[in-house]
């Protein structure tokens, strides 16, 4: 099974890398890493990992996954390669998880590489002692070391990459073209931002106060863990839904 997943991942990566030409593919990777691993951290200085902007490393996989996930099944269907793939000996789960694993590993990997590059670049420029001293994040009185921030952001990035991938895969399985998935994703994303905003406005004031009180009483660490747990649960539910919906007969559409 792992071998089959790897076979799909490998093919996806090769296809992706040479989609716009190998040189362009590698250049685009270099641009992302150069921007978020070198330019921004070095511009910001030794305190880069203590700034709220560091959360962008968690958001980056979410955005990158959104850019490529539409192609997963809808792209294969559009290019008339899906039916032959489904007619092969590959188990359903290998095809599905191979595609998910590629998108998550690519988008999350870009974030990790960017973060790691930033750590190395800042260490080389300012030295470890300066970085450690300047990068302690203080949230509501809680001190977080650079290592805690990096691990926390990386974990959040993984959860968000998986979330976007699962949503995109579900849409891609049903759509007849990449464009259709991208259009639907636009609405989904709008929902992501509108629902909390509108929801917050609609919830009675007293309820909101109680919610904030509960969150404050809980402590920052516990609250962050709760939010993470909600996202992990959402990931699990969406992945389970994707497994349930992966039916060869349904994927073949004329």
């Amino acid at each position: 099974m792992i071998g089959d997943i790897w076979t799909i991942m490998r093919k996806e990566f090769k296809e992706f890398l040479i989609m716009r030409g190998r040189r362009v593919g590698l250049t685009s990777i270099a641009v992302v890493v150069g921007m978020f691993g070198l330019f921004m951290p070095l511009q910001s200085g030794p305190g880069w990992f203590a700034q709220p902007l560091v959360l962008f490393y968690a958001y980056l996989p979410f955005v990158m996954a959104m850019g490529i996930v539409a192609d997963a099944f809808a792209g294969e269907r559009e290019r008339r390669t899906l039916e032959n793939l489904l007619a092969s000996r590959l188990p359903d789960t290998a095809i599905l998880f191979g595609k998910i694993a590629f998108i998550v590993s690519y988008s999350w990997g870009m974030s990790l590489v960017s973060m790691l590059t930033a750590v190395i670049a800042l260490n080389l420029k300012y030295g470890h002692a300066t970085i450690a001293k300047s990068s302690t994040m203080v949230i509501a009185g809680m001190h977080m070391s650079m290592l805690s921030v990096v691990v926390g952001v990386a974990f959040l990035g993984l959860i968000l990459a998986t979330l976007m991938t699962a949503i995109g895969i579900l849409l891609s399985m049903k759509a007849s073209s990449v464009k259709q998935v991208q259009q639907t994703m636009g609405f989904v994303m709008m929902g992501f931002f509108l629902v909390p905003t509108v929801g917050a406005a609609l919830i009675p004031h007293t309820w909101m106060s109680k919610l904030f009180q509960s969150a404050s009483a809980m402590g920052v660490k516990e609250f962050a863990l709760l939010v993470a747990a909600v996202f992990v649960l959402l990931d699990v539910v969406l992945l389970a839904l994707a497994i349930a919906r992966f039916k060869r007969a349904k994927l073949i559409m004329d």
């Binding site: 071998g3 076979t7 390669t81 032959n84 007619a87 092969s88 000996r89 060869r248 073949i252």
Partner: protein
């Protein structure tokens, strides 16, 4: 392995408003080339999808290589190769990468996989272009590569949907030879759908004609031709004029007769003697130079069957 590669019993697939396959019952012996003929929309592709376990039958059952398509589709797909309606090649990848990908899918070890890629690409004359991206290739080249991909893992059963479409005559002939040697030399069963009836006639030991999902006939091409009844005769010579034609038409054993560019084309009602007709024409002043007798081609049989069912 069983002697019967494919057996279907009342295989039926109903879509919302269309019955794509209707009570299809066939048996295909292992190691033979089976031609599946039918006009567009006859249900050929749906049948292949049912046999590969990609679709579930609404009614009936299908057994492929000893496995039920409903319960053991994975086992079937492991042992089969398929070249479906489209080549299914990854056009952003090179020819080598395409074959390598499918070789990995079938867990062919690295050394064997590399050797097989070389062997297959050399066989189709494209080894020197193995690093090229397939999307830049001509349709014929892609079709050759797709066939190579379908047989790469040495399947016991091969489904091929219009394999010579887009190939030049030389490449078509080479592919036909390959398919024949697969069946004869390696015992591979080939399930071939085609519109090319000459191809089916040359290759297949058994053909089936399907229309609107229903099986119209099945058997050896000769058997089907015999079912068409009449003998087709082409008479060449001089003085094959209107008078001779009218006399010929009056004979009870003659089904149809017409003059085509100075030649008489006669279809006999049954496989009767033709000599009395020759005497009649000669006595009427015709000077006969050549007579060509033949049973109807598979194409004639096919067209007749499809027309009858309309």
């Amino acid at each position: 392995m069983t002697d019967i590669a494919i057996r279907t019993e009342n295989l039926t697939r109903q879509f919302a408003t269309v019955r794509a396959v209707d009570n299809l019952s066939i048996e295909i012996p292992a190691g033979t080339i089976f031609g599946f003929l039918g006009p567009n929309g006859a249900g050929k592709t749906t049948t292949i999808r049912l046999l590969l376990g990609l679709l579930e039958p609404t009614v009936g059952s299908a057994n492929v290589l000893g496995f039920d398509t409903r319960t053991h589709a994975d086992e079937i797909r492991t042992r089969c190769g398929a070249l479906l309606e489209y080549t299914g090649l990854y056009e952003r990848l090179s020819a080598e990468d395409n074959l390598d990908f499918y070789g990995r899918i079938w867990h062919i070890p690295t050394t064997e996989r590399k050797a097989r890629i070389k062997e297959m690409l050399e066989h189709i004359g494209l080894y020197d272009r193995r690093k090229e991206v397939v999307g830049t290739w001509s349709r014929g080249m892609r079709q050759k590569l797709a066939v190579a991909r379908a047989v790469f893992h040495r399947p016991a059963l091969l489904f091929v949907d219009e394999p010579t479409a887009g190939l030049d005559p030389v490449a078509s002939a080479a592919l036909r030879d390959d398919l024949a040697s697969l069946a004869e030399g390696q015992g591979v069963t080939v399930f071939l759908t085609t519109h090319n009836l000459v191809e089916a006639e040359r290759l297949c030991s058994q053909v089936a004609v399907i229309r609107q999902g229903k099986l119209l006939a099945v058997g050896h091409p000769d058997e089907l031709r015999a079912k068409s009844g009449g003998l087709h005769v082409e008479v060449k010579g001089r003085n094959l004029n209107g008078k001779v034609l009218e006399l010929v038409k009056l004979r009870p054993e003659v089904g149809e007769a017409e003059n085509q560019n100075g030649r008489l084309m006669i279809t006999m009602k049954e496989q009767t003697e033709f000599a009395p007709l020759v005497a009649l024409m000669v006595n009427s002043g015709a000077e006969i130079e050549e007579i060509h007798k033949d049973t109807g081609s598979l194409e004639d049989v096919f067209l007749a069957m499809v027309e009858e069912e309309k």
